[in-house]
């Protein structure tokens, strides 16, 4: 009876003798390895940890000394090290940690394209200005000529006095002032005042401040189909680079096997360049296939 009392909580039974199933590793013919590991969490519950990975053998030639150093952290297999609490030759804060990169300290960043070529400094500035021009023609602020109602003008206070002066003039200021530079030129004395990022570059600038990511659909994008399965992102980029600066080029791949699905997307900075590329590259023979190029449809339109 006493022993029965001990086990009234059915969950406690597991706690008393944690028996973990063995770690398994299975590989399917298409090269995906499924690793299942079992752990106990802080409350003593069993946690199943499944990882699906694709292993790729990469051969690298290193010096003898470097090869010796590679063995330093790997004296004990990863699958037993977390139970026996010791591992290899680690020291300091890493003493006893299993080998392999720790996700707490090491992450892989997003792909960065380093293009070596002359950098023209004026380019990005021009681009931003052209982006601003076509925004909102219907509503024009009487004070600062921005694309919003006069009542909502962020420079209402500073410009009210100036506006009174200008009322008599039939002809407005020659260049529509946009932003802080325009104000500075008019001597509104706003230098040094904090301007929130959303209003920087003038009230006419569209959008809610600066975004960390540019929207995918902002850029003129081409969809390239019947692409060779061997083509990489860089090949695609090289193929379209002659028509102008390519902002992004990517081949669509299977999420798990990383095999190309035979199509990809190329984004240009400039619509005109994208159009020439579309005309010239549609039907172009590439790696024994004839690729076809069309405009990429935005996500929501494709679904509808």
């Amino acid at each position: 009876m006493a022993s029965y009392q001990k086990h009234t909580d059915w969950a406690a039974d597991e706690d008393a003798e944690p028996e973990l199933p063995p770690d398994t590793e299975t590989t399917t013919p298409d090269g995906i390895t499924t690793i299942i590991t079992w752990k106990l969490d802080e409350k003593g519950r069993k946690v199943k940890h499944t990882r699906r990975v694709r292993r790729k053998m990469v051969t690298q030639v290193v010096s003898h000394a470097a090869a010796e150093r590679k063995k330093w952290p790997k004296r004990v297999s990863r699958f037993v090290s977390h139970r026996i609490g010791a591992d290899g030759n680690r020291f300091g804060d890493d003493k006893g940690r299993p080998s392999g990169p720790d996700r707490k300290t090491t992450i892989i960043g997003e792909n960065i394209h380093l293009k070596i070529g002359p950098v023209s400094k004026a380019e990005p500035v021009e681009q931003e200005q052209t982006a601003k021009v076509p925004v909102g023609k219907a509503v024009v602020c009487r004070l600062c000529k921005g694309a919003h109602f006069t009542a909502k003008c962020p420079y209402k206070d500073q410009l009210a006095a100036l506006e009174n002066l200008e009322l008599g003039d039939e002809e407005p200021a020659p260049a529509a002032p946009s932003g802080m530079s325009g104000l500075g030129a008019r001597g509104a004395g706003t230098t040094g005042k904090y301007v929130p990022p959303s209003q920087r570059g003038g009230p006419g600038a569209a959008g809610g401040g600066e975004s960390m990511y540019r929207n995918r659909d902002d850029l003129p994008t081409l969809r390239v189909t019947s692409l060779s399965l061997d083509a990489e992102d860089d090949d695609l980029r090289a193929l379209f680079e002659p028509f102008g600066r390519v902002a992004r080029a990517n081949v669509v791949r299977d999420r798990e096997t990383r095999v190309s699905k035979g199509f990809g997307f190329v984004s240009f900075d400039n619509k005109a360049n994208a159009e020439t590329a579309l005309n010239r590259m549609d039907g172009f023979g590439y790696d024994s296939l004839i690729i076809s190029v069309s405009w990429s449809q935005p996500r929501e339109q494709r679904q509808g």
Binding site: A65, K70, F91, G92, D93, T105, T106, L114
Partner: protein, 339 residues
């Protein structure tokens, strides 16, 4: 290229260095610890714990046997790379701002800060490569600096001179035997850098060196005569610069001061590693990614990649793509692959 982001530090990075083969990367930070990483996969091998102040500088010997570090707790320490054991501690009256190894692993140097009436001193020690912890306490030579204090220093390729960079922008060369200044380029004569020199790194063969400065320029000096050879003019104060082996580029890193970071947007902050053509002094590329000014740059000794450490506490390790090695930004003007 996909950078490997290492987040092993809680505070700003101060210096990162590759070892001679480029398979390990040492990172020093203001959070008092030194980390060592495998550059191939970003795995951390260990940490060197023991300093009680910001670690300002690290240096590794060519055998990857010993690691040298200088910190704000007024000590310089010698560590065994493979075990993380501290072998030897040298104590001073002021903080150690810079340490360096000579090319033949026989000599080391430390620069101590000028503070509390103490002058800035460069001390050169002889290191016994077999002795481990029993190293000499008495320096081979002490060079007591008058005038502007030294911020950075390297050994000349034959280990007979020390080349220093100073707070006022002076670059000077001192004889190790006599301790005397042999040559210098100083802003007082209207030459060279105009503001504090923040970093100094030798070229792969040691015949020239690059300096970065708060005066927004980086310059290449010949290491024999300290003659200015190239100038790279940027828009932001520079914290670090290095020369890439194999390809004819230099990498510069900087950004405005940590103090004014919060008032500037990331885009305007120029927190990018900037590639300049070494010969033509033209900018050829940028790599973004950091959220704060880049404090330190280091290039893979084989020219296969580079790493940057920033005020934001992250280290980013980059391996160059094929396109980098094939690039010819100025057409056929430039020579084929350098060896």
């Amino acid at each position: 290229m996909k950078p490997i982001i290492l987040q092993g530090h809680e505070r700003a990075l101060t210096q990162i260095v590759y070892n001679a083969e480029g398979d390990l990367l040492f990172s020093a930070s203001k959070d008092n610890i030194i980390n060592v990483w495998f550059t191939s996969n970003g795995e951390r091998l260990g940490t060197y714990n023991g300093h009680n102040g910001s670690v300002w500088s690290v240096a590794c010997d060519s055998q990857t046997k010993y690691l040298l570090s200088g910190a704000a707790d007024n000590t310089m320490k010698l560590w065994e790379v493979s075990t993380g054991k501290c072998l030897k501690t040298w104590e001073y009256r002021t903080a150690v701002k810079r340490v360096a190894y000579s090319a033949d692993d026989d000599l080391i140097l430390s620069i101590t800060e000028q503070r509390q009436g103490q002058p800035s001193v460069i001390r050169i020690y002889r290191i016994d490569r077999e002795a481990g912890s029993s190293q000499s306490d008495t320096p081979l030579k002490e060079i007591i600096l008058t005038g502007s204090k030294a911020t950075v220093a390297v050994f000349s390729p034959l280990s007979d001179f020390v080349i220093t960079g100073h707070e006022n922008g002076k670059v000077a060369k001192y004889d190790i035997k006599t301790g005397e200044e042999v040559k210098s380029v100083s802003p007082e004569d209207g030459e060279g850098h105009r503001a504090e020199i923040t970093d100094m790194q030798l070229s792969p063969d040691g015949t020239y060196l690059i300096t970065s400065s708060k005066d927004k320029t980086a310059r290449i000096f010949d290491s024999l005569n300290i003659e200015e050879m190239k100038v790279y003019v940027t828009e932001t104060p520079l914290n670090s610069a290095c020369i890439t082996p194999v390809r004819p580029y230099v990498i510069l890193g900087g950004g405005q001061d940590a103090m004014s970071v919060t008032t500037t947007s990331q885009r305007a902050g120029k927190f990018e590693s900037r590639f300049w053509h070494k010969i033509f002094e033209e900018e050829v590329g940028r790599v973004r990614g950091h959220f704060g000014p880049i404090n330190t740059l280091s290039v893979h000794p084989g020219g296969k990649g580079y790493a940057s450490g920033s005020e934001d506490g992250f280290v980013r390790v980059h391996w160059f793509d094929d396109s980098y090695f094939k690039s010819r930004p100025f057409g056929d003007l430039e020579p084929d692959l350098e060896i």
